[in-house]
C-alpha cells in the first residue's frame, strides 16, 4: 500500500501546478506584457474586424470621380478623398489595405490552426503509438519536408485553383511538419513519465491517455509553434497572391496589391509597393515578437527553435 501512495504522490507532484500560483502568475504577466507586439497587432486586428466601418470606400470599386494612380494626399497631385492614393482601377489604396488586413489575418490564423491541428495530431499519434504508425507518419513528414514549403504550396494552389479557403487548407497542409516533429519528440519523453505509465496501468484507454494526459502537456509547445508559424503563413499567402495563385481578384490581398503595383514601379509610383509591404512586415514582425515572448514564457526548452 505504501508503494501505491508513494506513486500517487509522485503523480500529484508531476501534474502541472494548480490554482495556487495563478494569481501571482497573473500579476507577473500583467507586469510583463509584450507591449510592442500588442501595440502593432491590436490595431491591425481591430481594423480587420471592423473593416466595413473603418474603410472609407468599397475596396473593389473605383472611387467616383477619382483618377487612376493618384499619389497619397501629401504629395503633389494627391487629393483628400484617397489618403494613400489610388491604384490602376482608381480604387482606394487605404481601403484595400484595410480589407487586405482581414484576408491576411484570417488566412494567417486559420491556416496556422489547420497546420497545428494536423501536426499536433500526427505528432501525438506518432510519438505515443510508435511502431509502424510512427514510421509511416515520420516518412510522410520527411516527404513533405523534401519540398520547400512555398514550392509545394504553389504546386497545390495551381492544381486546386484559387480561393481564400483553398489557400487556408493548402497552407495548413504544407506547414504542419514542424509541429509533427517537435510534438512527437515531446510525446516520446512524456510517454515514459510516471503519470502516463500510471494511467495506463490503471486501465485508461489509449484515447483517454492521449486526450487527458498527453494533449494538455504538449499544448504549450503547440502554442509557441503556432505563434511562430503565423508569420510564415502570412508571408506564404502574400507570395501566392503575388504570383496570382492565391486570393483571387478583385478581393484585396496585400500580396496581389504588390503584384498590381509592380507595373508602376518603374515610373516611381512607390505607394502601391511600399504600403502593402509595410503592412506585411509589421504584422509578421509583431507575431514573431509575440512568439519569442511566448516561447520564453511557456517553454524555455524551445528557445533554440
Amino acid at each position: 500500500m505504501t508503494f501505491v501512495t508513494e506513486r500517487s504522490r509522485t503523480v500529484i507532484a508531476a501534474a502541472p501546478p494548480a490554482a495556487t500560483g495563478r494569481v501571482k502568475r497573473g500579476l507577473r504577466l500583467a507586469r510583463e506584457v509584450p507591449l510592442v507586439p500588442l501595440a502593432i497587432l491590436v490595431p491591425f486586428v481591430l481594423i480587420a474586424l471592423f473593416a466595413n466601418f473603418v474603410a472609407p470606400y468599397d475596396p473593389t470599386e473605383p472611387i467616383a470621380g477619382a483618377k487612376i494612380f493618384e499619389p497619397p494626399v501629401w504629395m503633389a497631385g494627391g487629393s483628400a478623398h484617397a489618403l494613400l492614393g489610388t491604384d490602376f482601377q482608381a480604387r482606394d489604396v487605404l481601403s484595400r489595405l484595410i480589407f487586405g488586413a482581414r484576408v491576411s489575418l484570417i488566412v494567417g490564423v486559420t491556416g496556422t490552426i489547420v497546420a497545428g491541428s494536423i501536426g499536433t495530431t500526427l505528432g501525438i499519434l506518432s510519438g505515443y503509438l510508435g511502431g509502424w504508425i510512427d514510421q509511416a507518419i515520420m516518412r510522410v513528414t520527411d516527404a513533405w519536408l523534401a519540398l520547400p514549403g512555398l514550392v509545394f504550396a504553389i504546386f497545390l494552389a495551381t492544381m486546386v485553383g484559387p480561393s481564400m479557403w483553398n489557400i487556408v487548407i493548402i497552407l495548413g497542409a504544407v506547414y504542419w511538419t514542424r509541429y509533427a516533429r517537435v510534438i512527437r519528440g515531446e510525446v516520446l519523453s512524456l510517454r515514459e513519465r510516471e503519470f502516463v505509465k500510471l494511467a495506463e496501468i490503471a486501465g485508461a484507454s489509449r484515447i483517454r491517455v492521449i486526450l487527458r494526459h498527453i494533449l494538455p502537456n504538449v499544448l504549450n509547445s503547440a502554442m509557441v509553434l503556432a505563434s511562430l508559424t503565423i508569420g510564415v503563413v502570412i508571408i506564404a499567402e502574400a507570395s501566392l497572391s503575388f504570383l496570382g495563385v492565391g486570393v483571387p481578384p478583385p478581393q484585396p490581398a496585400w500580396g496581389s496589391m504588390l503584384s498590381d503595383g509592380r507595373s508602376m514601379l518603374m515610373v516611381g509610383d512607390w505607394w502601391l509597393t511600399v504600403f502593402p509591404g509595410l503592412c506585411i512586415m509589421l504584422v509578421v514582425l509583431a507575431t514573431q515578437l509575440l512568439g519569442d515572448w511566448l516561447r520564453v514564457r511557456l517553454d524555455p526548452q524551445l528557445r533554440n527553435l
Binding site: W144, T273, N304
Partner: protein, 306 residues
C-alpha cells in the same frame, strides 16, 4: 557504416516514393488531368485523343507505375508549351539558378556569419541585440518585397543598378540580396547558437586555462567546430535557393528554375509544373542523404545510435 548508408538510402527512396504518390494523387483528385493538358474549349474527341496519347485512360495504379518508371529513368514528361522534355528544360535553367543561388549564399555568409559570431562572443551586448534585430527583420521582411523596394530605390530613383535580366555582376546584386536576406538571418541564428554551445565546452575552457589569447580561442578552436552545422545549413539552403527562388526570379526576370515553374503555372503547362516539383524534391532528398552520410562518416556516434 555500410548498414547506415543502406538504411538512409532506403529512407530517401521511401521519401521520394511518398512524394511522387502525393503529386500523382493531388493531380488526379483535383480534376481531370486531361482538361489541364488540353487547350480550353477542346472538342471531346480531342480530349479522348489526348487521354489515350498520355495513357490517362488506363487504371490509376498502372498510371502510377508508369509515372514512377519515368521518374526513375529520368524522364519527367514533355513540356506542353516548350515541346521539350522537362528534365532538359530543368537542366538548361540550372546554371542560371545556381549562379543566383551562389551569389545569394555569398551574401548570406557575409552578413550572417560575422554577425552571428560577434553576437555569440559578446552575448547580451549591443552587438548581440543588433544581431537579434537583423535576425528578426530577416524573417519579417519578405525577400520579394525587399527586392521591389530595392528596384525602386537603386534602379528607379538613383539609377545605379539595372532592374532586371541577366548580365554582369550589377544585375546580380539586387536579386542575390533579396534571395539571401532570409537565409542570412537563419545563418546568423545558427552561427550564434552553435558558437555559444562550443564556447561552453570543456576543451574551450582548457584552451583558455592554457592561457591562449581570447581571439585565438575564438577564431581557431571554437569557430572551426561551430562552423560544421553552419556549413551544413548553407549546403541545404543552396539547394533550396536553386529550386525555390520563384518570386525573386519573377521580379528580376531571372531565367532560372523558379521562373520556369512560374511560366508552367501561367501557361497551365502541367507536366512542366509536376516535373519541376519532382526534380526539386529529388535534389533536396539527395543533398540531405549526402549530408547524413557525411555526418555519420565524421561522427561515429551518429551511425551507431538507432
Amino acid at each position: 557504416m555500410g548498414r547506415f548508408i543502406i538504411r538512409r538510402t532506403l529512407y530517401a527512396v521511401i521519401t521520394l516514393f511518398i512524394l511522387s504518390l502525393t503529386i500523382f494523387t493531388v493531380i488526379r483528385l483535383t480534376g481531370d488531368p486531361v482538361t489541364l493538358l488540353a487547350e480550353p474549349g477542346a472538342r471531346p474527341e480531342d480530349l479522348q485523343r489526348i487521354r489515350v496519347e498520355w495513357g490517362l485512360d488506363r487504371p490509376w495504379p498502372i498510371q502510377y507505375l508508369a509515372f514512377v518508371e519515368n521518374v526513375a529513368t529520368g524522364d519527367l514528361g514533355k513540356s506542353f508549351n516548350y515541346e521539350m522534355p522537362v528534365s532538359a528544360l530543368y537542366f538548361q535553367r540550372l546554371p542560371n539558378s545556381l549562379e543566383l543561388a551562389l551569389a545569394a549564399t555569398l551574401i548570406s555568409f557575409v552578413i550572417g556569419i560575422p554577425a552571428g559570431l560577434i553576437s555569440a562572443v559578446r552575448v547580451n551586448s549591443v552587438w548581440d541585440n543588433a544581431g537579434k534585430v537583423i535576425a528578426l527583420f530577416g524573417l519579417a521582411v519578405p525577400g520579394f518585397w525587399l527586392g521591389l523596394v530595392m528596384i525602386l530605390v537603386f534602379s528607379v530613383w538613383l539609377g545605379w543598378l539595372p532592374t532586371s535580366g541577366q548580365g554582369g555582376w550589377r544585375n546580380l546584386i539586387m536579386p542575390a540580396v533579396a534571395l539571401g536576406w532570409y537565409f542570412a538571418a537563419s545563418l546568423l541564428r545558427l552561427t550564434r547558437s552553435s558558437m555559444l554551445e562550443v564556447l561552453r565546452s570543456e576543451y574551450i575552457k582548457l584552451a583558455r586555462l592554457k592561457g591562449l589569447p581570447g581571439y585565438v580561442v575564438v577564431a581557431v578552436h571554437a569557430f572551426k567546430n561551430a562552423l560544421i552545422p553552419v556549413l551544413t545549413l548553407a549546403g541545404v539552403n543552396l539547394v533550396v535557393m536553386i529550386n525555390a527562388a520563384v518570386i525573386i526570379e519573377v521580379i528580376f526576370a531571372w531565367p532560372g528554375i523558379g521562373r520556369l515553374l512560374y511560366e508552367g503555372i501561367f501557361q497551365r503547362d502541367f507536366p512542366l509544373v509536376q516535373g519541376v516539383v519532382m526534380e526539386a524534391g529529388i535534389m533536396i532528398v539527395g543533398i540531405n542523404l549526402l549530408i547524413d552520410i557525411l555526418y555519420a562518416y565524421i561522427d561515429p556516434r551518429i551511425r551507431l545510435t538507432k
